[in-house]
Symmetry: C2
Subunit: 239 residues, 2 copies
Amino acid sequence: MAISAIQKPVRLNEIAIETDTKSRILDAAEELFMEHGFEATSLRLITTAAAVNLAAANYHFGSKEELFQAVLTRRLDPMNQDRMQLLTNYETAAGNKALTCEVIISAMFIPALKLARDHEQGGKNFLRLLGRAYADPAPFIREFLSSQYAEMIARYRAAFARALPHLPREEVSWRLHFVMGALSYTLAGTDALKMIAQFHPEEVNNDELLLKRLAPFLAAGLRAPLAQASDAHQWFQET
Amino acid sequence: MAISAIQKPVRLNEIAIETDTKSRILDAAEELFMEHGFEATSLRLITTAAAVNLAAANYHFGSKEELFQAVLTRRLDPMNQDRMQLLTNYETAAGNKALTCEVIISAMFIPALKLARDHEQGGKNFLRLLGRAYADPAPFIREFLSSQYAEMIARYRAAFARALPHLPREEVSWRLHFVMGALSYTLAGTDALKMIAQFHPEEVNNDELLLKRLAPFLAAGLRAPLAQASDAHQWFQET
DNA sequence: GCTAGTTTCAAACGGGTGTTTGAATAAATT
DNA sequence: AATTTATTCAAACACCCGTTTGAAACTAGC
C-alpha cells in the first residue's frame, strides 16, 4: 500500500472515521466533483483523497460516469422523496383547498435545507454539486438528472397549477422552470457565498438566510399577472 | 495539409465563407465549448473543426485558457457595453425620475436579444456558452467573468436601488443576484429549448419568446415586499 | 529578386486519462 | 480446516491531452 503513505488525513471530528471503501470513495468524489466538476476530476485524485486503491473505483462502481451518478443518487433520491412526501402532507392537511405558492415553495426548499444541515459537511457540498450538475453540458448528466427529477417536477407543476388557476398551464411550466433555475443557480454559485460573507460574516454556511430571501422573490414572480399581448411593446419595443 | 482532407464542410449561406485562421478558430471554439464545456473540449477537436493546424491555436492565442477567454470577450464585451449605454440612455431620457424595474430589465435583456439575432448562428450559441461558463467551477473562468461583469453589475445595482428605494441595499443585491441567476440558467439550459419545442414547435430558436416570459416574472420578484422577521415562520417553520 | 517577418505545418514531447488484468489477501461459507 | 467468494493491490494498457519545435511555405517591403 504505497499510496496510502501520502494519504490525506481523514476527518477526526467523530468517533467513526473508518468507513468502508465504497463510502470513502463516494465522500471524496462528492467533494472533488463539487470543487472541480466532472471532467476535471480524475479517478486518481478521488481514490488518493479517499486513501483507497485506484482500481477500487472501477471495481465498486463500474465506471467514472456510474460513480458520478451514484454520488448524485445517494442524496438526491431521498431529498426528492422528502419533497413529494411533504407536498402530500400539506395537500391532505389543506383538504380540497389549493395550497398557496408560499407553502408549495416551502415544500421544495425544506428538504434541501434539511440536507444542508443534517450531514454537516457533505450535505452543503452536495447542494453546490447538484446546482452545478444541473448546468453541466454532459448529456449523460442531463439525462440522468431529468429522469431523477421528472416525477417530482410533475407533482409540483400540478400543485402550482392549482395555486394559480388563472394562469395557462404553459405559463405555469415556464415559471416553475424559472424557479428551478434561480434555486439551483443560487445554490451552485460561489457568488452567493461571497455575498453572505460580505453582509453577515458570522453567518457563512447559512443556507437558511439565503433561501429565506429567495423564497419571497420567487413567490412574487409566480403570482405575477399574466403579461398581455398589448404589454409586449413595453418590454422589447426596440432592438 | 493532410488534416484538411477530412475537413468539416464550412457554412455556405453567405458569400464570405473563408475567414482568417484566428476567426475560424474562435467560431469553432465557441460552438464546441458551448456543446461540451471547457474541460471536455480538446484543442484537437477545435482545430479539426476549424480545419486549421493544431499548433495554430497556441500560436494565435497562447494557451487553451486564453483561447476560451478570447471566445468570451469577443461578444461579451460589446454586449455589456451596450447594456451600460442603453441604461444611460434610459436614465438621461427619464431626467431625474427613477426608472421602473421593467425598463431596467429591458436594458439588460435587449442587448442579449440583439446578440442572439445579429450573428444568426454564433450569437445564439454564445448565450448558451455564457450561461454555462457562469456555472463553471474553473477558477480562471469565474474570475474572468466576474471581472468582466463587475462594472455592469454595479451600474444596474444602482439603478435597481433607485427604482426600489424602500428596499435595503443588501436586499437589492440579493435580488439582482437572483435575476442574473434565472437569466443565465434559462439561457444556458436545454430544458428551455425543449419547452419551446413542446409548446411552439414553429418558434424554436426564438429567445424573444423566452425572455418575454422571464422579464415579468423577475420584475414581480424584484418588487416583492420585504419579508418581515415575523413572516419567517411562514417559510421554514419546521425542518 | 531578395530579404525579413509572419504564418502554417508535421512531428514529437512529457505527462495524465479511464480501464483492465491477474496475482495476493481477507472474509465468509461449508 | 478447507474452500469458495469478495476485495485489494501494483502494474500495465492503449489512448488523449496541451504545448513546443524547427523546418517549410507564404507575404510584404525595399
